[in-house]
């Protein structure tokens, strides 16, 4: 199992300087090429876990492994790691450090020491990937919140990471922006980038992720494929999460014999399944 993991947390323990708990015997694995969602209440350690993933925090006990090897916290080791693992923070305001979009995205590649021509090429590619090619010359403070989030992602993509960590990428986005953002995540996963994100939105996690990881009080309670979520309700409750809305509905409708036993992953899928079931019912209205 550990041989095939891209990133692995092995019984990681850590406390913050002020004495508050960071992680407590936290263990989980991320498979290469998979889509992963971290679920858990505020304070469960989701952000802390992501910071450990790029070596910004260091375990007091236990270890973090990348491709089977424990992280090297020396300068060269961290440099190598951060080339391959990118982290996008929740709040774009805290992360965008330059006044111009172009400049901000070039920050990482320049720090990699790449020649200018290659930096320009990477910035262009990253701008294109997040759909902001038109904004390259804008000032950061003129952008909308959703655009700022995209610039943050572009700044990380320009370093061409294999693993992308995103802290609450959907927080603060309105309806249309969320849909655009989900499409972007879809596209990045399609390019073979492994993704680990934290979210409060259990409906989204259930329909998007391959693997779910439940965090509570600094521990990973469980990791399982998203399709098994309907059988993990007790664990979900232990991590303070509500059940995805679609599951409650599906259960009732399946009890009524309107839907097959296998639950759909989203309300849209449930509606589609109902449409399939409709003809039968129309013929025998209750």
């Amino acid at each position: 199992m550990s041989g095939e993991a891209l990133l692995r947390f092995a019984a990681v323990c850590q406390r913050y300087e002020d004495g508050s708990r960071g992680l407590e015997e936290c263990s989980l694995s991320i498979r290469p090429g998979s889509r992963n969602a971290l679920l858990g209440p505020n304070g469960a350690g989701k952000t802390t876990l992501l910071l450990h993933g790029v070596g910004l925090l260091r375990p007091a006990r236990g270890q973090v492994e990348f491709q089977g090897r424990p992280l090297d916290y020396g300068r060269a080791g961290l440099r190598q790691l951060r080339q391959r693992v990118g982290l996008v923070f929740q709040n774009p305001e805290r992360q965008l450090l330059s006044a111009s979009v172009y400049e901000d995205i070039s920050f990482g590649p320049l720090n990699l020491g790449l020649p200018e021509a290659q930096v320009r090429q990477r910035v262009e590619a990253a701008l294109g990937a997040v759909g902001l090619a038109d904004c390259r010359e804008r000032a950061v403070h003129q952008l909308s919140f959703g655009q700022k989030k995209r610039v943050c992602i572009a700044g990380v993509l320009a370093m061409e990471p294999e693993l992308l960590l995103l802290d609450e990428p959907l927080a603060g986005l309105d309806g249309p922006m969320r849909r655009e953002f989900e499409a972007l995540l879809e596209q990045l996963a399609g390019q073979g980038i492994t993704i680990l994100l934290s979210t409060h939105d259990v409906d989204f996690a259930y329909r998007w992720a391959d693997d779910l990881h439940l965090l509570a009080e600094g521990r990973c309670l469980a990791s399982f494929p998203a399709r098994e979520l309907p059988r993990q309700q007790a664990l979900l409750a232990a991590a303070g999460q509500a059940l995805p809305a679609v599951l409650g509905l599906h259960r009732r409708l399946a009890d009524l014999g309107l839907l097959p036993d296998e639950p759909p992953r989203s309300l849209d899928a449930l509606l589609a399944a109902l449409d399939g079931a409709a003809p039968d019912l129309k013929r025998n209205p209750a």
Partner: protein, 225 residues
């Protein structure tokens, strides 16, 4: 570098407090006048004090390691004028004593004199003189911040030498002693502070002018420049 709690003899502690008091009163009177015209300046200086405090608590990468941190005094003096920096410097020094045990209450007057009065006035004077002579903004900012820092540290050395003259060589020998010991950290720090302040101004210049004017950052700066 602040003089620690209880380090100065009574007469010196009291004397420096008396020496600083008129400057503080002058700063407060001018500030009160400013507040009547622009009430939002109350918030501005409070927020700026917090910004400077955080800057002063940041550890900087430099040869001397953890003991070096910038003072932000040069930056503040150039942006807000040296007089406004006296009450702001007082609040910062009081907070450093109460929140970091850095400096002290009995030495507040002496520390205010070096960091809140000499430093800002030297920084602002250097900046104005250099800009008057046609020096570039970068050079003006660098020397204002660096010399403001050095002036602060030399004043502290004078204060210590005066309080503790060398039994053999007197004031001069004692000054050489204190200035020499603290030069290890303070001279590189002054250079780093100058470079950092230039980096901050360079960063600011990348914002478009429109935005800075809206924030009233450019006009004040241009008026002085």
């Amino acid at each position: 570098m602040h003089i620690m709690e209880g380090f100065l003899p009574v007469a010196h502690a009291a004397g420096w407090t008396l020496a600083s008091a008129p400057f503080l009163a002058w700063g407060l009177i001018s500030l009160r006048r400013r507040l009547r015209e622009q009430p939002e300046q109350r918030m501005l200086l409070g927020v700026a004090a917090a910004f400077a405090f955080i800057l002063s608590a940041l550890k900087l990468p430099s040869v001397t390691g953890s003991s070096s941190h910038p003072t932000g005094v040069g930056l503040g003096a150039v942006l807000f004028g040296p007089l406004a920096m006296v009450p702001v410097g007082f609040v910062i020094l009081l907070f450093q004593a109460l929140l970091l045990a850095h400096g002290g209450l009995t030495t507040l007057g002496a520390n205010l004199f070096s960091l809140g009065i000499v430093g800002p006035f030297v920084a602002a004077g250097v900046f104005r003189a250099l800009r008057g002579l046609g020096a570039s903004l970068a050079l003006g900012v660098f020397l204002a911040a660096a010399l403001g820092d050095l002036a602060t540290y030399l004043t502290t050395s004078v204060q210590l030498a005066w309080a503790f003259p060398d039994p053999v060589g007197g004031f001069a020998a004692s000054f050489a002693k204190f200035a020499g010991i603290f030069a290890l950290t303070q001279v590189p720090l002054a250079i780093v502070e100058g470079l950092l302040t230039v980096a901050i101004f360079n960063g600011l210049a990348r914002f478009n002018g429109e935005e800075l004017r809206r924030l009233k950052l450019l006009p004040g700066q241009e008026a002085r420049a």
